[in-house]
């Protein structure tokens, strides 16, 4: 029966081919169109949204790691009543549409005593760059937590106990054993959350609104350009987002590869 194609193989091959075309063709066309209609002045228009996106994404990712790292450590290493319930509850924001998350944040900062107190202190969250950071922080925190939880659950807890039996305090065991072992997961989590923050739209527009040159991140700029009929500007901005996402994905895979090889190298904790 040489030469006869198995119908199942044919089906699998077709599905793969269709999937590749369906996912990659539109993105390829967008990039080709951006190259074709590139004008230097449109790039200048993108500069401010790009800078705002970069720094707000950096700030929100930093906040995410500040809370998610000790949080994930506590959820995997400490035993306390209600731990599993808390772990489940912290996943809820991940299942919400981002617009809904943004609306919840809007109501919280507009009407809750916390929001009122912040306003009295002169801290403006609504329709401000701080609102952008908080919106990105809120939607990405559960993702960061989940990625770190996965890393900490895989980690070798025997090494941590050995460190303790050799005189290390709990913090020293965290610093010298847990953190170096978690490093590949941590880098990947930082990268993914930063990239997601760069592209966050729903929660950002609900909390920070659409204010040109104030809360105009790259995705907001795409939306504003489209609404104003400036297709070339929208395409250029969107293609910058595509390039950022693709670069992040490549870096993510490189880090993952390095992390897998890390245990076979002469990695030094004191010199690195």
């Amino acid at each position: 029966m040489k030469g006869r194609v198995n119908p199942f193989s044919w089906f699998v091959g077709s599905a793969l081919g269709f999937m590749a075309l369906f996912l990659l063709l539109p993105i390829g066309m967008l990039l080709a169109r951006a190259l074709g209609s590139y004008m230097p002045h449109t790039l200048v228009q993108v500069k401010e949204p790009l800078i705002l996106s970069i720094w707000t994404a950096l700030a929100s990712t930093g906040l995410c790691v500040l809370l998610a790292l000790p949080g994930a450590y506590g959820l995997t290493r400490f035993s306390f009543p209600g731990r599993e319930v808390l772990r489940g509850l912290l996943q809820i924001p991940m299942s919400l549409p981002h617009l809904v998350s943004g609306m919840a944040l809007l109501i919280f900062f507009a009407q809750s005593p916390v929001g009122v107190l912040l306003r009295k202190m002169g801290i403006t969250v609504l329709f401000s760059p701080l609102g952008v950071v908080i919106a990105q922080f809120f939607v990405n925190l559960p993702y960061m937590l989940n990625m770190l939880l996965a890393g900490l659950s895989q980690g070798d807890q025997q090494e941590e106990f050995m460190a303790r039996s050799l005189g290390a305090s709990q913090f020293q065991s965290f610093w010298y054993i847990v953190l170096p072992n978690l490093r590949p997961h941590l880098y990947s989590a930082l990268l993914v959350c930063w990239s997601r923050a760069m592209g966050e739209f729903g929660a950002v527009i609900m909390l920070a609104g659409i204010v040109r040159e104030k809360t105009e991140t790259l995705p907001v700029a795409v939306y504003m350009n489209m609404a104003a009929g400036d297709l070339d500007g929208a395409i250029l901005t969107a293609s910058i987002l595509v390039l950022i996402s693709v670069s992040t994905m490549i870096l993510f895979h490189l880090l993952k590869k390095r992390g897998n090889n890390g245990r076979n190298t002469n990695a030094s904790m004191y010199t690195s």
Partner: protein, 212 residues
């Protein structure tokens, strides 16, 4: 269960009888629900593992996989943040004593079973522990390395007057190294077992009621 100062005690028992759990409890990995652990007559069960000064070598040696041999051995000394010169001296002394100097920069994942156990021994002994717990330390070592490690354990015990609790399945190891042999059987400890009775343990037969 009582281990005399300087005594080399062997603990035997069927798989799943709780030997490793017992060592983990003594070392402080898990909190005890009942009972107490006394080292040199002082209770340690309320102390965190770092406060017990008990050396522990698990079956797989428990080395830090991302560190070199030298970093593994000096780990405990570095955590104490003592005098740096003294640390280096002690680290060098133990590496020479266990013939590990030539492996100092090597990552521990590249070591043989015997080398790994020697590193684990050096790492525990450099801290001068009050009690050394060994969980089947010879099980992943080839026959030649096993004989060498047995000699080493015997020599170190004799020279340092260490108190040792050594879990093993190997009758030859038990008879060669053990000054006293205990058996954990169905959750109960038989503190002293005659050498003649050892073979019964491996045939799964119950031990006679009277002690040796």
């Amino acid at each position: 269960m009582n281990i005399e100062p300087g005594e080399y005690m062997i603990l035997l028992g069927a798989n799943g009888s709780g030997k490793t759990l017992l060592l983990d409890g003594i070392a402080g990995r898990y909190p005890l629900e009942t009972g107490s652990v006394l080292v040199n007559n002082s209770p340690v069960q309320g102390l965190p593992p770092e406060g017990r000064r008990i050396g522990y070598i698990p079956q797989n040696s428990g080395l830090f996989s991302r560190m070199s041999v030298g970093e593994n051995i000096s780990f405990g000394l570095r955590m104490k943040r003592g005098d740096k010169r003294d640390m280096t001296l002690r680290e060098t002394e133990w590496m020479e004593r266990l013939d590990l100097t030539y492996l100092k920069e090597r990552n521990v994942l590249t070591l043989s079973g015997g080398e790994r156990q020697r590193v684990a021994l050096a790492r525990a002994l450099v801290l001068n522990p009050r009690l050394l717990l060994l969980d089947e330390p010879l099980s992943a070592v080839d026959p030649a390395g096993r004989n060498r490690l047995m000699e080493l354990l015997h020599e170190l015990h004799r020279e340092m007057g260490l108190s040792v609790l050594h879990v093993t399945h190997d009758l030859r190891v038990a008879e060669t190294l053990g000054q006293r042999i205990a058996v954990l059987e169905a959750g109960r400890m038989r503190n002293r077992v005659c050498h003649q009775e050892l073979s019964k343990v491996y045939r799964g037969e119950s031990l006679s009621a009277q002690a040796c």
